[in-house]
């Protein structure tokens, strides 16, 4: 056990031989971030740069009767106003995988700029390009849009009705997934204990501090270059399709990103910047306001969950019957895949022989929903872990005991059919949070009650196996022994680039300060895929490890030959090439290598596990590469007069496999837990008949320093993950448990189960009152 500052702790398996990996090195990117010299997407200014802004729909469902740009174009300083008709290929198609038979459209269509009708409040209609931001503000108001309001649909259940207004011509069902493992119906009939529950989650925004932004320009040789805040430089292909130019003529650069969390996984500013450059030939900047970001960029899917959970009298799970209805909003984006993650993880990190899942994602005239940290595997934790908690109560088992009894282990299969192939330390995460928590707190005031809750989860890391995921990295020694690493990974704040540098330094025996990482450039760094899906440490980390290992080996082979030393004795270390005699300083050793004509560089590609695509009826040997599990614990205090929930203590423990940089790992755990607590207590995008009422930070409330306790992160190192040095991904996993953890703690405190997010004081009071009619609140009963 090693203490990593404060109360965070890291438990190590055999890692004693590591020199750089596993050390909490202050990150190189932090040096510039604390100096204010990092150049984020909006910080670049180029000579003769133009500015651009979208005109967005003010209605959630309407026909566009007239779009007149004449007045705007006549304003001095306006350079162009573009409509959908000006976009070379205005239609974007999204694959809806596995839906060939059940959903009429194989692919879903959306428009870059709406022409015929609009389907959600904030949908882009026109693009204004002007000499300054001041002119833009005026010009925006001069674009005349006449609407004919159409009936909209704002409830996913209503949207499935025969008579419901159609959001898209092919119907309102976007995607549907089924899992039938064993026979849940029969098992539930026979089970001595059955718990039923219904749960609702809300629209949530990513609320990263850096709004969507970018600068684009026409570079030499006709390459349109877009430097934007994005998690995906590979969107250069989508942009090329929209512009109708060869993919090789589009270059996307991702500078350090001011937070992503999935919200910069779909394109935001990129196509609009590219269109403005294509039209004007001049550099262009686009910066969205916070209002635009909250209004119109995709959200986390609200879900309605219905669970029936059956168990034996000893707490052994025998069946789960789960229905999921997701509001996917007005556009497809990644909705079908988000729902797939929900379906695969809905039964939780437990052995359960009989599971039935019916999941649907439905179009409405709400803002589109797509990727957000957790990607559908988060919402279902709120349902599943409430069920497990209630089951424990019914059986008078402690919450930890019922989870331990059913905890998934290596060799077990998930309901979808995938076998867990790595040691997975779920039981250990439960033990750790309980051990660290100690005694329960006392209420601070007479009308307050305290309670403790735990919740566990599993979250995939790495992409769906049929996407044939790869990541590439190039690594080379410079003549002086410094190291250049090129990898297309976007760094969205999780230390993605710095971690790769640490891995390379470990393998090549150099000081991490001697490694420079070039990242996030679709043209000049080898493509490494998206900084999403908790995949970068796993994928790019393995690519960097592979490249560095090959470079080390070919270097030592050459030195052995040139210096006449036994290859087996040689290693790379702080002294250069060490072993078999006096150390050879690295620059001298590299001279020897070059003398033999052996290159000082390696390009390596890491391939994730591959698998077959799934159909609507999910049954697969493998859907994801692997999973990360964890358990959180919260002590809460509920004010029974005001309904206020205060989180007094919060612990979050995950099996991270190996903490490449413990600082970054505990940072991810604390940050994910904090975001989850926001979802649990305060955050909600509120829509009234499709109109967004929460388009500012004054209405959309993310937690402040006053709202959170010092979250305590515990990273367990099983060393058993599929990433470099046995690491698992940790970006998304910590977002899963908080809402359920707090709901379970509230249940413990006041004897009332809250089933809807966020758990606002109003909802707490309403639940207390409803309970009072049947059974008065009792002081904290059983608990861990």
């Amino acid at each position: 056990m090693t203490t990593v500052g404060g109360r965070d702790e890291v438990q190590r398996s055999d890692a004693s031989q590591l020199r750089v990996v596993g050390r909490p090195l202050p990150r190189t990117d932090a040096a510039e971030k604390i100096a204010g010299s990092t150049r984020y997407a909006a910080d670049l200014a180029l000579p003769a740069m133009l500015h651009t802004r979208l005109v967005r729909s003010t209605l959630p469902s309407a026909r566009l009767v007239r779009r007149d740009t004449a007045r705007a174009r006549s304003l001095a300083g306006v350079v162009a106003v573009l409509l959908g008709e000006d976009v070379p290929h205005n239609e974007v198609w999204v694959d809806v995988p596995g839906q060939q038979t059940e959903v009429r459209a194989l692919k879903a269509r959306s428009q870059v700029l709406a022409t015929g009708r609009v389907r959600y409040h904030g949908q882009p209609i026109a693009l204004v390009v002007a000499e300054s931001e001041d002119v833009l503000a005026e010009a925006e108001a001069l674009v005349d849009v006449e609407y004919e309001e159409l009936p909209g649909v704002f409830d996913p259940e209503e949207a499935l009705g025969e008579e419901a207004p159609r959001v898209h011509e092919d119907g309102n069902l976007l995607a549907e997934w089924h899992i039938d493992s064993g026979d849940a119906a029969t098992a539930l009939e026979r089970a001595p204990i059955v718990i039923e529950g219904q749960y609702r989650t809300q629209f949530v925004d990513h609320a990263y501090l850096e709004p969507e932004a970018g600068v684009a320009w026409l570079d030499d040789d006709g390459v349109i270059t877009i430097r934007a805040s994005t998690q995906v430089v590979e969107h250069f292909r989508d942009i090329a399709a929209i512009l109708g130019v060869p993919q090789a003529r589009i270059r996307v650069i991702a500078p350090y990103v001011g937070g992503g969390f999935g919200g910069k996984e779909d394109m935001t500013v990129e196509p609009y910047l590219a269109l403005a450059v294509l039209r004007t030939g001049r550099p262009v900047r686009m910066v969205w306001t916070r209002q635009e970001s909250l209004l119109a960029r995709p959200k986390r899917h609200p879900m309605r969950l219905r669970y029936r959970t059956g168990a034996e009298n000893d707490g052994t799970l025998v069946a789960q019957d789960i229905e999921i209805l997701a509001d996917t909003g007005a556009e497809a984006y990644l909705g079908a895949l988000v729902l797939l993650y929900s379906s695969v993880t809905a039964a939780g990190p437990y052995r359960c022989p009989n599971v039935r899942v019916r999941a649907r994602a439905v179009y409405t005239n709400h803002p589109p929903c797509s990727a957000m940290r957790g990607f559908g595997a988060m919402q279902v934790v709120f349902g599943c872990e409430a069920q497990i908690d209630e089951l424990a109560r019914r059986l008078q088992l402690t919450p930890d005991e019922i989870r331990r009894r059913n905890a998934i282990r290596e060799g077990d299969r998930l309901p979808v059919g995938q076998q867990i192939v790595t040691p997975i330390w779920l039981g250990e995460t439960i033990d750790q949070v309980l051990r660290a928590a100690g005694p329960r707190p006392e209420p601070s005031r007479p009308h307050c009650r305290v309670g403790r809750g735990i919740a566990s989860n599993l979250q995939p890391y790495g992409r769906l196996v049929w996407l044939q995921d790869t990541a590439a990295a190039w690594i080379g020694f410079q003549f002086d022994g410094s190291v250049t690493l090129r990898c297309g990974v976007p760094d969205i704040g999780g230390g993605q680039a710095a971690s790769l540098g640490q891995i390379a330094a470990e393998v090549l025996g150099v000081d991490p300060a001697r490694v420079t990482v070039h990242f996030g450039d679709s043209a000049r760094t080898p493509l490494a895929g998206t900084s999403t899906a908790t995949r970068q440490l796993y994928m790019s980390g393995n690519a960097a490890h592979l490249a560095a290992t090959r470079l080390r080996d070919q270097t030592l082979d050459a030195v052995a030959e040139a210096a006449g030393r036994a290859r087996g004795a040689l290693r790379l270390g702080p002294g250069g090439v060490e072993g078999g005699g006096e150390p050879i300083a690295l620059p001298r050793a590299l001279e020897l290598v070059r003398g033999l004509g052996v290159p000082l560089e390696v390009l390596a590609t890491f391939h994730g596990p591959r698998g077959r695509a799934v159909a609507r009826d999910l049954a697969a040997e493998r859907v994801f590469p692997d999973f990360t599990v964890g358990t959180h614990l919260a002590d809460v205090e509920v004010d029974c007069d005001t309904g206020q929930i205060r989180v007094v203590r919060y612990l979050a423990c995950h099996d991270v496999g190996r903490a490449i940089n413990p600082q970054s790992v505990s940072g991810q755990i604390c940050g994910g837990a904090a975001m989850g607590i926001g979802s649990a207590l305060t955050e909600e995008i509120v829509l009234e008949s499709g109109i967004n009422l929460t388009a500012g930070f004054f209405q959309y409330r993310i937690p402040t320093a006053l709202d959170l306790p010092d979250i305590e992160a515990i990273a367990l190192e099983s060393g058993a993950g599929m990433g470099p040095f046995g690491a698992r991904g940790i970006g998304e996993p910590p977002i899963g448990p908080p809402a359920a953890t707090i709901a379970n703690a509230v249940r413990d405190a006041i004897g009332v189960r809250l089933t809807e997010l966020p758990m606002t004081p109003e909802r707490v009071l309403a639940a207390i009152r409803a309970q009072a009619h049947t059974d008065p609140p009792r002081p904290a009963p059983t608990g861990p």
Partner: protein, 176 residues
Amino acid sequence: MAERVRLTINGVAREDLVEPRTLLVHYIREVAGLTGTHVGCDTSQCGACTVLVDGDAVKSCTAFAVQADGATITTIEGLARDGELHPLQQAFWDEHGLQCGYCTPGFIMASVKLLADTPEPSDDEIRIGLEGNLCRCTGYVNILKAVRTASRRMTEAGGAPTGGAAAGSAAARTAG
């Protein structure tokens, strides 16, 4: 209808013509070219644009540039002295009080003011002092740790710097 403003930023006297509606944050970023001050929300909730105006922590999206006429301003770029980081900058780095870093300059500037007023703040005082700044990455754990560390180091060093160039002289203020 541009108006003339004379002010000092990070020890450098400036004189510029600005539109009366130009916000101080846009002046700092676009005219003075200091992009370490960030815009996060446009509505004064997030604090990413926090700078020191005559030693006070100000959300620069809430002020017009013309209101800063005659003022001495310190931004994140002006905090280090002679190549040496301000103790708060060093502590944010050491304690990993950041991830994406976008909110960081605002947090550091707000913390400078906090420690100037309260050199040894309690945890509650830190939380209250930084409540006007939002971070989405860290859960604030390491930000609080960084402020505690800086407070300790500054107290131990005795007589803490209170704000780089903003510690600023009357001479600098009237220059230009």
